[in-house]
Amino acid sequence: MDLGLRGKKAIVTGATKGIGRAIVELLALEGADIGLCARDADEVAETVAALKVRGINAVGEAVNVRDGEHYKAWLERTATALGGCDIFIPNVSAGGGFDSEKNWVKSFEVDVLHTVRGCETLMPHLEKSGSGSIVIISSTNALETFGVPQAYNAMKAALLTYSKQLSQHVGKRGVRVNSISPGPVYFDGGAWELIKGTMPKLYDWAVKQIPIGRMGAPEEVARVVAFIASPAASLITGSNIVADNGFTKRVQF
């Protein structure tokens, strides 16, 4: 099956590690041009260089998405550099944290506001595409009780509502909007590696919740994202795709 990604222009935030990195690697392999950002300039440069080996065009900058003006300017610059934007994948997250009210502000600014700002800034480009597609990265933490009440879970839930409403709003302009809710994803340098090392009981508990007995890999999430982002998924908009290896227990009617 040809996903139809060759020559598409994709912008992905937080793309030097983990799920974001796997997404840009796969999109590049499928022939898409990539614009990416992350906090660390060295890691951005390394990622851009690695993608260019695929023979596609890749650009990247160090951006802190909490700085709204800087972030929006980067999005515009990147769309211009790529010659448009067909796919937008807001992937950055502030991660967990439950010990301070400031986590709520941080999670709101990073997880929610950066997604909203990105969608609004890039919408004119996505409309022009003809096959514009947004894939918002949520989490199974938004769907079922996990751990303690914390901003991460609530903000990921906010993204699901936003994603659905946005899909209705921009559908007539030819832009599809979907979200992906990965379950626990393990990778080198990832949150679960840290949890495995520092809170082994929580890690063991999480693995036990997964029928097949292992966490997901970034590459597995990336394959779902790449399909949903691609013109091949033309019938799918307003959906939330749960990719969790059976981690969640609810029935999806």
Binding site: G18, D40, D99, N103, K106, G190, E193, L194, G197, T198
Partner: protein, 454 residues
């Protein structure tokens, strides 16, 4: 079986960029400079010294009865008549605050029939006007002289020639030290560099927050060894790799004592940079009054930023850090005071782990945990915790110490094995080698060597 090259490659320690440390001239009191490493032979440390009753006897005769030992905390016995009981091996010691404010230490034994004057056991303390034996009520003054012997006239030979048998005691660091040695060197000489290094922390500003004794199933030295190297962190404390640097450690051996300086609040080069701040490092930040949710810098900058933060805010929080260098505000200044005290010393707290030999069994020992926390100026002095005691594994003593405790009986059992000759030590374990060298100096004399040693 892999090639030698594969073996070496798999076994290589990770490379790392050294952490930033204070320079000696930026350390107001505690010396920061590295001491020259002692020249010690790379030999095997004979396992029999951990298991043999004979070696245990030599240790008692030539080491435990020669050194100075930690006995009590002065703050626990401020008033005349306050007393504390401590123990070492088969001996029980009674430390008593005198009417003139001075201190005396006695063997805890009545001169009549040998009964204990006060119950044995670390943690026994109280206040008394005189010391009366619970058996026939022989009564002693606080200074150990006789006050009353019931029916003295029925002893034709009179009272024994002297009252309670006294021991030397002295004070340093807010603690009472004693020695079974009848002609000891002065305590200050025994402690060597320690007062200069640790006085700046001013332990008297700290209240005791844990006072615990656990009987452990290992030799006392097996436990000392466990706290004198950081090589085991990657083995049994993997969670600490996201909390401290286990390889960039400054080891300093002094005459009898030693220390190592462990950078806290940073990552081990053995782990990858995580996506967020590890919880244990967040705890350090919160302790300094920082909000981790506010922190936008890289994790590797946190240690230095905590130092700056504490330096700037300490005084406003009633925490005077003026006598400490910047590294002392974050790092573990870990001292070993020969023969049996491991001190994790920090700006806001310190922990003492004390290893005491069992009276008769080389495979058992007593592990004392005493922790203390800085009481900020202007706040009410809290009551110290009571002493508790239990047996190996009965209860949790905290994740990290449980990991240490769980491992030690296996080490001790292995010391008895025909398949094991002795300890094969690396550079990270220099303090263990130094510790055993000092033991040898006591047991065999400074020029002497253990039987069969190279």
């Amino acid at each position: 079986m892999g090639s030698d090259e594969d073996f070496r490659k798999r076994s290589q320690s990770p490379a790392f960029t050294p952490v930033r440390r204070v320079t000696p001239e930026n350390s107001p009191e505690t010396p920061a400079e590295k001491a020259p490493d002692p020249q010690l032979v790379d030999g095997v440390i004979d396992a029999r010294r951990y298991t043999s009753a004979e070696f245990m006897k030599l240790e008692w005769e030539r080491l435990w009865t020669r050194v100075w030992l930690l006995g009590a905390r002065e703050l626990d016995m401020p008033e005349p008549g306050d007393f504390v009981v401590t123990e070492i091996g088969p001996e029980s010691i009674l430390i008593v605050r005198q009417s003139d404010g001075g201190l005396r230490a006695f063997y805890n034994v009545c001169q009549h029939r040998g009964n204990r004057l006060r119950p044995c056991g670390v943690g026994t303390s109280g206040t008394t006007r005189s010391i009366t034996c619970p058996y026939h009520h022989w009564e002693y003054e606080l200074d150990g002289s006789y006050r009353r012997i019931p029916d003295l006239d029925t002893f034709p030979q009179g009272a024994p020639p002297r009252g309670l048998k006294e021991l030397r005691c002295d004070t340093w660091g807010g603690f009472v030290w004693y020695t079974l040695n009848e002609s000891p060197e002065p305590l200050r000489d025994f402690l060597g560099v320690i007062p200069k290094h640790l006085d700046p922390y001013n332990f008297n500003r700290m209240v005791q927050t844990r006072d615990l004794t656990v009987e452990w199933h290992c030799n006392w030295k097996t436990s000392v060894d466990a706290f004198n190297e950081s090589y085991h962190v990657q083995g049994i404390h993997p969670q600490l790799l996201w909390y401290l640097h286990d390889l960039d450690i400054q080891i300093d051996c002094y005459e009898r004592h030693s220390r190592y300086l462990i950078p806290f609040g940073t990552l081990s080069p053995r782990v990858r940079k995580p996506p967020g701040i590890p919880e244990p490092i967040k705890t350090i930040m919160k302790g300094a009054g920082m909000d981790p949710a506010d922190y936008d810098g890289p994790i590797t900058n946190i240690r230095h930023d905590v130092q700056k933060h504490k330096r700037a805010l300490g005084a406003t929080q009633g925490r005077d850090y003026s006598r400490l260098n910047d590294d002392q505000l974050t790092d573990d200044y870990h001292y070993f005071i020969f023969p049996n005290l491991s001190l994790n010393v920090h700006a806001d707290d310190f922990w003492i782990f004390r290893q005491r030999p069992h009276p008769s069994d080389p495979d058992r020992m007593f592990y004392d945990i005493m922790t203390y926390e800085l009481v900020p100026a202007g706040t009410e002095w809290p009551e110290r915790v009571p002493h508790r005691q239990w047996r190996h594994g009965d209860k949790s003593i905290g994740t990290v110490l449980d990991q240490d405790a769980a491992n030690l009986p296996g080490v001790q059992a292995g010391m008895h094995s025909a398949g094991f000759n002795g300890l094969w030590l690396g550079r990270q374990e220099l303090r263990i080698r130094h510790f055993h060298k000092v033991i040898d100096d006591y047991v065999y004399g400074p020029a002497g060597r253990p039987p069969g040693a190279p």
